[in-house]
């Protein structure tokens, strides 16, 4: 269960960001922003030639004392960032991968919508529902 989920466009501006409202959302925004550097680093490390071989799932970007940040980048350089609490040790790598996969599928559904202009904020309810299902239920 994530604490914050963000979708960042190729130009590194957010298309969608949602956090658990109970916490200081600005902090999560900042975290996501800083994680973009790590994403870039990981993406560039593989090299352009190996784009095909580069895996979409980037794994743990960096851990802090409070939470961990995972990254995923699509072939069109759209990035997904998931922030989970460090105390949540039950989350396995596979679960994170499946979360990213669901996000990616929802994102492609949004893209398929002809009324959605790429670059707009994502306002799709279906996408919202998918994200909500992955967020920590605010107590």
């Amino acid at each position: 269960m994530a604490v914050c989920i963000a979708v960042v466009a190729k130009e590194n501006y957010p298309l969608y960001i949602r956090s658990v409202p109970s916490e200081n959302e600005l902090k999560f925004h900042y975290t996501v922003h800083t994680s973009l550097d790590v994403v870039e680093e990981k993406v560039s490390a593989v090299g352009k030639v190996l784009v095909d071989q580069r895996e979409l799932y980037l794994g743990l970007l960096y851990p802090t004392e409070d939470y961990k940040v995972y990254g995923y980048v699509t072939n069109s350089k759209v990035k997904f960032v998931i922030v989970v609490e460090s105390s949540n040790t039950s989350l396995r790598d596979n679960e994170i991968r499946s979360m990213f996969r669901k996000l990616h599928n929802s994102f492609t559904d949004v893209m398929c919508n002809p009324f959605y202009n790429p670059g707009d904020l994502i306002q799709s309810k279906a996408f919202d529902s998918v994200v909500s299902s992955m967020m920590v239920q605010a107590c």
């Binding site: 991968r97 499946s98 599928n105 559904d109 398929c112 002809p114 799709s124 309810k125």
Partner: protein, 694 residues
């Protein structure tokens, strides 16, 4: 119907309400928004609301305001908003039936410029019995949606000057009928701004509903209306006329009814409806069932229907209504039973699957398997620990050996095994084993160098098959083939334990200690246990012992057994690891692959400090092997009875196996170091010797 005259107070009240509702200051009361809220606040039953709205629509169509039914009696105090409305509505509704009997509308007045001022109603439009009908197809007292079409048609008809078409109370409840032309006009209004604005204002009740109401003339109660409308369960159902209209529209974009409308074309088309992009986006999400970015005929009809509904003021559903599901929508069928469709279900029903649905169906079906596969992939990614334990094959071999001591016999099945084993690449162990198969072959070949003894060969093969059996045994355990490498380390870590446990098993089959399992393995190598006690397999201490009574041959067998296990573990372990040691060992020791594994073991057994010449080891190993085999053979016999016990013992043995393999690798490492030391010492010695000679 009587004409209502509003008292001044009422009029004032109503005008206030009207102003309240007239949010746009256009002197029009939009059917959506406040008016609806108003009516809803009245907490009237839906049908009453519908009636009211219908009335308004009729008024509008008729160019006049129908205030009938607004208030029969003036004695009601100025109603408080909610309450008053209730009364008004009730009265209104009550009046409806009356009005139905009245003279037909006076007018076919083309749609008025959108002035609806029900509260200021001054004229009364008699209703004309309309033979034709826009029958309220149904639905809806609960839900407004279908009405828009009928309503629109109704309006159109009114504007068309066909007064008879006014809600036909007498008309049978039929489908919307005659909907397309008016709708077309109304659609045209989509592109024309001014007229379109009148559309939404009119709505909330569909003509359908009004006709329902009308036709329920006989039933003057809302209950009756409800009853009638309840016969149509699905508010979102598309009527035939509507459907026909949609199809016509579809054809204008895409002549082929079985084809798709690309997203861009659909976007242009629906943008004409002047709905906000966000809502259009939502409609698209709902209607593009297979998420392919294009609309089939069914999807298009669903989308169109939703747009119309939204235009008429109805909120979009959160998920696609059943009747709009692509598989339900059928050209021929207008009375789909809702229960045939499931909102969540995917187009599987063969019923009414129209040809144009088929293209989307496969794609839809494809999506899901893909997702499933992807889910499975994630499941597969997780490495599956695999146990290596002596499997049934091994036991069979043992038995064969025991029974016939017919080497040919066991060998044949055994020989048959390796190919089997090599096939079992799914399991990591099997993979390793497969990899080790060549190694095993190497073993056999090495054995063949040293001696061509058949037993040895058979032993080797048996051993190979033995390890092969474990994959077979494993097969039942672990399905997907995880990549060998990670498993190598994985198994390696456990291999030592397995080794330990494995040696314990053969040693005594009673590993109570070292290996956590409760081995019910038969006392095969009990004597070996006794012997093996000094074989300090680290963990084996326990379990060994009690069976010291077994034949003395078993004692030497223990080291053999250990060797065997080592060998086995070695064979089972990731070849990469082993081969590394192997290669190194080979370089340092120059022995056959077979040799290194047993060396450490033996060293351990006898004295770890000694460096044995490698040459000794293979022969020793060879001797060991048969002994080991014999001991192992004895195991299955006793075990064979209980399948569960066998499996448990297999598991334990496998664990032992891995433990031993790990031990093996470590010991080999030690061996390497020691050899290096030895070499350095020898070099020093050599350097000193000449001096000494001198």
């Amino acid at each position: 119907m009587e004409t209502l005259t509003l008292s001044d107070v009422e009029q004032k009240y109503y005008s206030d309400l009207f102003v309240y509702c007239d949010t746009d200051n256009t002197k029009k009361v939009a059917s959506s928004g406040r008016v609806r809220d108003l009516f809803r606040a009245a907490q009237l039953p839906n049908e009453v609301v519908l009636q009211v709205t219908l009335r308004f629509s009729i008024c509008q169509a008729g160019g006049g305001c129908v205030c009938e039914g607004l208030r029969e009696g003036d004695d009601l105090p100025l109603p408080r908003f909610a309450v008053g409305k209730n009364e008004q509505e009730v009265r209104h509704a009550a009046l409806y039936p009356d009005s139905e009997n009245q003279a037909p509308y006076s007018g076919v007045i083309p749609r008025p410029p959108g002035r609806v001022q029900p509260k200021k109603a001054a004229t009364h439009e008699p209703l004309q019995p309309c033979p034709d009908t826009t029958s309220p197809v149904g639905s809806p007292t609960q839900s407004p949606p279908t009405s828009p079409h009928t309503w629109r048609k109704h309006q159109r008809q009114a504007s068309g000057g066909n007064s008879e078409r006014q809600p036909a109370q007498s008309g049978p409840v039929t489908g919307d009928g005659m909907w397309s032309p008016p709708v077309q006009e109304s659609w045209v209004s989509f592109t024309d701004t001014p007229p379109s604005s009148t559309l939404p204002t009119v709505h909330p009740s569909s003509v359908q509903e009004s006709t329902t109401i009308r036709t329920a003339a006989s039933a003057t109660t809302s209950n009756e209306l409800q009853r009638q409308s309840s016969s149509y369960d699905d508010p979102w159902k598309i009527t035939d006329e509507q459907r026909q209209y949609y199809i016509n529209q579809f054809k204008t974009i895409q002549p082929d009814l079985n084809g798709f409308i690309p997203g861009s074309a659909a976007k242009e088309f629906f943008t004409k409806s002047k709905l906000p992009i966000l809502e259009l986006s939502h409609i698209w999400e709902l209607s593009d069932f297979d998420k392919d970015g294009a609309l089939t005929l069914d999807e298009f009809c669903a989308a169109f229907h939703l747009v119309v509904a939204r235009k008429n003021g109805y909120d979009l559903p959160e998920k696609l209504p059943e009747s709009l599901m692509p598989k339900l929508i059928d050209l021929d069928d207008s009375a789909e039973v809702p229960d045939q469709v499931q909102d969540v279900g995917y187009p599987n029903s063969p019923v009414e699957v129209t040809p144009n649905k088929s293209p989307s169906m496969p794609s839809l079906n494809q999506n899901w398997p893909e997702l499933n596969q992807s889910n499975e992939d994630t499941a597969i990614v997780h490495p599956v620990p695999i146990r290596m334990t002596p499997s049934k094959i091994h036991m069979q071999e043992m038995e064969l050996k025991r029974t016939g001591s017919d080497h040919a016999h066991p060998t044949s099945p055994l020989m048959a095994k390796p190919p089997e084993l090599s096939e079992e690449n799914k399991l990591p162990n099997s993979i390793k084993f497969g990899a080790s198969n060549p190694v095993g072959d190497g073993y056999s070949s090495s054995d063949s160098f040293t001696s061509d003894q058949e037993p040895i060969a058979s032993v080797v093969t048996r051993q190979r098959s033995h390890s092969g059996t474990s994959p077979e045994g494993l097969k039942a355990v672990a399905p997907p083939p995880p990549p060998p490498r990670p498993h190598a380390s994985h198994s390696r870590s456990s291999s030592l334990d397995m080794n330990r446990s494995f040696t314990a098993v053969p040693a005594g089959q009673q590993q109570t200690g070292v290996v956590p399992y409760a081995p019910a393995v038969p006392p095969r190598p009990q004597p070996t246990q006794a012997a093996g006690s000094h074989a300090h397999r680290p963990a084996d201490g326990d379990g060994l012992g009690p069976h010291a009574s077994t034949s003395p041959q078993q004692i030497p067998e223990q080291p053999n057994f250990a060797d065997f296990s080592q060998f086995q573990a070695f064979a089972v372990e990731q070849p990469s690891e082993e081969t590394e040691k192997h290669a190194e060992g080979a370089q340092t020791k120059g022995a056959t692959p077979l040799a290194p594994p047993p060396k450490p073991v033996r060293r351990r057994l006898k004295s770890e400090d000694e460096l044995r010449p490698e040459a000794e080891e293979p022969p020793q190993k060879q001797n060991v092997v048969p002994a080991v085999l014999s001991t192992q053979l004895s195991i299955p016999r006793s075990v064979g009875k209980d399948k569960k016990a066998i499996q448990a013992s297999i598991r334990r043995n496998k664990e032992t196996n891995t433990v031993l393999a790990r031990l093996n690798s470590e010991l080999q490492q030690q061996l390497k170091d020691l050899l290096e030391e030895r070499i350095s010492l020898e070099v020093q010695l050599e350097q000193l010797r000449p001096f000494s000679h001198l």
